[in-house]
C-alpha cells in the first residue's frame, strides 16, 4: 500500500508541474499589467518603476519563471502584490476555511445523495422514485449562485412573500461566524459555526447531491440484480440488512471514485458560493487576485488548488482500495 501511494505521488509531480507552467503561460500571455492598480495621477512613473523592480517584474519572462519555480521549490510562495504579505500566510488562513466548507458540502452530498439514491432504487418505478428523479434533475439544472441568492432571500432575509418562513429555520447568510464569535463558549462556537455553514454548504453541494443520488440509484439497481443479493435474501435476512449491508457496500464502490471528480467541482463552485456568502476562502482569494492581476497570488493559489485535487484523487483511490477487498488483494500480491 505504501509503495502504491508513493508511486501515485510520483505520478502527480509532472501533473503539478504542468499546471504551474500552464498558469504561468496564461498569465504571461494575458494583456494587463499588475502595476496598473497603482496608476493614478499622484503616483509618479519612477515610483511605479521602483515597485516593478521590488517585485522582480522588470526581468525577462524566462528568468521570472525560473525564479518563481526556484522560490516555490524552496517553499516560498512569494508575496501578494495587493495585500503586501506573504501568500503562504494568506493561504494558511484561507485553506482551512475552504476545506471546512467543501468538506461539509461533501458530507452533505454523499449523505443526502446516497440516502435518496437508495430510497429510489429500493422503490424503483414508484411515484416517489419519479418525483425524486425529477426533483434532482431540476436542482441539478439550477445555477448555483441563483440558488444561493434564493436561499438568502428565503432563509435569511425573508422577503415579504416568504414571511411565513419559521424564525427557527433562519440561517445567517454570510461569513463563517458571528461577530462575537471569540466571546462565545465552546459549544456556542460550535453551533455558531454550524449555523453559518448551513446555507453555503447547501448552495455548494445540492447539485452534486442530486447527481450522487442519480449515480447511487443506478449503481444500486445494478447491484440489486446481482446473485449475491438473492443469496442474502435466501438466507432469510430482513430487507434492511440486505440493502444496507449487502447491497450498499458494493454499490458504493463506483460512488467513491466520484469523490475525486467532485472535489475539483466543489473548489470551482466555491468561487461563486464564497462570493455570494462572503465566505473567506480560497475561491474568493483567487477571484480577487485574478481581478487585481495579483500574479504571485494567482499562481500560488492555483498551485494549491491543483495539489488539493491531486490529493483528493489519491484519497479516493485509497478509499476505494479500503472498501473493495479485491483491489486490496491485488495490490498486496504485486
Amino acid at each position: 500500500m505504501t509503495a502504491y501511494i508513493f508511486r501515485r505521488l510520483l505520478q502527480a509531480i509532472p501533473l503539478v508541474f504542468g499546471i504551474l507552467t500552464l498558469v504561468f503561460v496564461i498569465l504571461q500571455v494575458a494583456p494587463g499589467d499588475p502595476m496598473a492598480i497603482y496608476m493614478h495621477p499622484s503616483v509618479a512613473p519612477e515610483v511605479l518603476e521602483q515597485m516593478r523592480e521590488n517585485y522582480g517584474l522588470d526581468q525577462p519572462v524566462h528568468i521570472q519563471y525560473v525564479r518563481w519555480l526556484k522560490s516555490f521549490l524552496s517553499g516560498d510562495l512569494g508575496t501578494s502584490l495587493t495585500q503586501n504579505r506573504p501568500i503562504a500566510a494568506i493561504l494558511a488562513e484561507r485553506i482551512p476555511n475552504t476545506l471546512l466548507l467543501s468538506g461539509t458540502s461533501l458530507l452533505l452530498i454523499f449523505a443526502i445523495g446516497i440516502a435518496i439514491g437508495i430510497v429510489q432504487a429500493v422503490r424503483q418505478h414508484s411515484k416517489l422514485d419519479h418525483a425524486l428523479t425529477l426533483g434532482a434533475l431540476f436542482i441539478y439544472s439550477m445555477p448555483s449562485f441563483w440558488l444561493g441568492l434564493m436561499l438568502i432571500l428565503i432563509l435569511a432575509y425573508r422577503v415579504h412573500w416568504v414571511e411565513w418562513w419559521p424564525e427557527a429555520l433562519k440561517f445567517p447568510p454570510s461569513g463563517m461566524d458571528s461577530v462575537n464569535y471569540d466571546l462565545l463558549s465552546t459549544w456556542g462556537k460550535f453551533t455558531d459555526r454550524l449555523d453559518h455553514l448551513v446555507l453555503p454548504s447547501i448552495a455548494l453541494g445540492v447539485s452534486s447531491a442530486a447527481s450522487v443520488a442519480r449515480y447511487t440509484r443506478s449503481s444500486m439497481l445494478e447491484v440489486i440484480r446481482q446473485d449475491y443479493i438473492r443469496t442474502a435474501r435466501a438466507k432469510g435476512l430482513p430487507e434492511r440488512t440486505v440493502i444496507l449491508k449487502h447491497a450498499l457496500k458494493n454499490a458504493l464502490l463506483p460512488i467513491i471514485t466520484l469523490l475525486g471528480l467532485y472535489l475539483p467541482f466543489l473548489f470551482s463552485g466555491a468561487v461563486l458560493v464564497e462570493v455570494v456568502f462572503a465566505w473567506p476562502g480560497m475561491g474568493r482569494a483567487i477571484y480577487d487576485a485574478i481581478q487585481q492581476r495579483d500574479y504571485p497570488t494567482v499562481m500560488a493559489t492555483t498551485f494549491v488548488f491543483a495539489v488539493m485535487v491531486v490529493i483528493a484523487n489519491l484519497i479516493a483511490d485509497i478509499l476505494y482500495a479500503v472498501v473493495d477487498p479485491r483491489i486490496r488483494y491485488e495490490r498486496e500480491r504485486r
Binding site: L15, G18, L22, I26, M142, W146, S268, V271, I290, R293
Partner: protein, 379 residues
C-alpha cells in the same frame, strides 16, 4: 396498413393538405400525428398573429428577420411534406436489418422523458429562430420615458414584465436564448472536435504520443474548471467570442478521455486490423473507421455538455465575465435583475426558469441517448 390503391393515397393527400398529421392520426400514429399538428398549427399561428412583423421582414431587412422568415417557410414546408410522406413505408423499414442508429432511435422513442426533452429542445430552437416574429419589442432599445415603464409587473403588454430600463423581459429572454444557445453550441462543437481528435490520436497511436497527450489532459482535468475559466476570461476581457473560445478550449479533455477509452478497445478489433492490412494510412483509419464508431458516447457527452455550458455561462455572467451588456444572455438578464429581486422578482426569475428548463431538457435527451446508444444498458 400501407395504402395500396390510388384511391387511398389521394385521400391521404387531401387529409394531409387539410392539416398535416391528420392522416397519421387517422392511422392511429398518435405521436407522429400530434407532433405534425402542433408544428403546423404553431407555424400558422406565428404567420397569422405576427403577420405585420412577417411583412416587416421585407422592409427592415435585418438578417435575423430573414432567418425567422426562412424558418417559418421551412417549418410550414416540413409540416406539409412530412404530413404526406411520413409513416408511409414504416412497416417495410422495420422489417429489414436496421442500422445501429435506427435501433437507437427506436429505443430513444420509447423513452418518454427523453422525448419530452427532445420536444422541448425543438420548441426552444424554433422560438430562438423565430424570435423577431414572436415579439413586438426590441431586446436592447430603451424608450425615452424610462421611469414610467421600468419594473412593470407581468401583464398582457409585457408577458414577463419589464426590467430596470423598461425593456421587455420576455423579448430579452427570446433573444437571449440565441446568445446562450449559440455559446453552448459553438463551445461544445469546439470541445467535441478537439476532444475527439486528441482522444482518437492518443488512443490510436498509444506510446509516447498517448502519454504526452494524456498528461496534458490530466493537467487540464485536475484544474478546477471554473477557476481556469475565470482566470483566462478575466485576463483576456470578457466578450462572447472569448467566452465561447475559452469554454471550447477548456472543456475538451473529458471528451478526449472518453474517446481514447473507446478507441483503445476498438483498436484491437478486426475491422481496424483489416483496414490496416489493406494498407490504409493512419489519418484515414482514424477519420473513416475509428471516429464514426465512437460517435455514440461523444454525442451523449455533447448533449450533457450543452446543459452544463449554459450553467457555466450563467455563473460567469454573475461574476461579470460573460458577454457585456446590453447583450441579453440569460445569465446577464438574471444578473441584471438580482439587485431588484424584492421589488421586481420577474426580471431574474423568468430567465432562471428558462435556464432550468433548457438544462433539464438537454439532460433528459442526453440520458435518453445514453440509454439508447449503449447496448449494455438495454434490458
Amino acid at each position: 396498413m400501407s395504402a395500396s390503391g390510388g384511391n387511398g393515397s389521394r385521400k391521404r393527400l387531401s387529409a394531409a393538405a387539410l392539416l398535416p398529421g391528420l392522416p397519421q392520426l387517422l392511422r392511429g400514429q398518435r405521436r407522429a400525428g400530434l407532433s405534425l399538428v402542433a408544428l403546423a398549427l404553431s407555424m400558422l399561428a406565428v404567420l397569422v398573429f405576427g403577420f405585420d412583423r412577417v411583412l416587416a421582414t421585407f422592409t427592415v431587412g435585418r438578417i435575423d428577420y430573414w432567418v425567422a422568415f426562412l424558418t417559418l417557410l421551412a417549418g410550414l414546408a416540413a409540416a406539409w411534406w412530412l404530413g404526406v410522406s411520413w409513416g408511409r413505408g414504416s412497416s417495410e423499414d422495420s422489417a429489414a436489418g436496421a442500422s445501429q442508429w435506427a435501433i437507437a432511435w427506436r429505443e430513444f422513442e420509447k423513452n418518454r422523458p427523453a422525448m419530452l426533452g427532445l420536444y422541448l429542445m425543438v420548441a426552444l430552437y424554433l422560438v430562438t429562430l423565430l424570435a423577431p416574429y414572436l415579439t413586438s419589442y426590441e431586446p436592447s432599445v430603451i424608450v425615452d420615458d424610462i421611469m414610467r415603464v421600468r419594473h412593470l409587473a407581468p401583464s398582457q403588454d409585457h408577458l414577463m414584465g419589464t426590467d430596470k430600463y423598461g425593456r421587455d423581459v420576455y423579448t430579452r429572454i427570446l433573444y437571449g436564448a440565441r446568445i446562450s444557445l449559440s455559446i453552448g453550441f459553438i463551445a461544445v462543437g469546439i470541445s467535441i472536435a478537439l476532444g475527439t481528435l486528441v482522444g482518437a490520436v492518443s488512443g490510436y497511436f498509444g506510446g509516447v504520443v498517448d502519454a504526452v497527450l494524456m498528461r496534458f489532459v490530466d493537467t487540464l482535468i485536475s484544474f478546477p474548471r471554473l477557476v481556469l475559466l475565470i482566470t483566462v476570461i478575466a485576463l483576456f476581457q470578457p466578450s462572447i467570442l472569448v467566452v465561447v473560445v475559452v469554454l471550447g478550449l477548456t472543456l475538451w479533455p473529458s471528451t478526449a478521455r472518453i474517446v481514447r477509452g473507446e478507441v483503445l478497445s476498438l483498436r484491437e478489433r478486426e475491422f481496424i486490423e483489416a483496414a490496416r492490412a489493406l494498407g490504409l494510412g493512419s489519418p484515414r483509419i482514424i477519420l473513416r473507421h475509428i471516429i464514426p464508431n465512437v460517435l455514440g458516447p461523444v454525442i451523449v457527452a455533447a448533449t450533457l455538455g450543452l446543459g452544463n455550458i449554459i450553467l457555466i455561462e450563467a455563473g460567469l455572467s454573475f461574476l461579470g465575465l460573460s458577454a457585456p451588456p446590453p447583450t441579453p444572455s440569460w445569465g446577464n438578464i438574471i444578473t441584471d435583475g438580482r439587485e431588484y429581486l424584492v421589488e421586481a422578482w420577474w426580471v431574474s426569475t423568468f430567465p432562471g426558469l428558462a435556464i432550468v428548463f433548457t438544462v433539464v431538457s438537454f439532460n433528459l435527451i442526453g440520458d435518453g441517448l445514453r440509454d439508447a446508444l449503449d447496448p449494455r444498458l438495454r434490458v
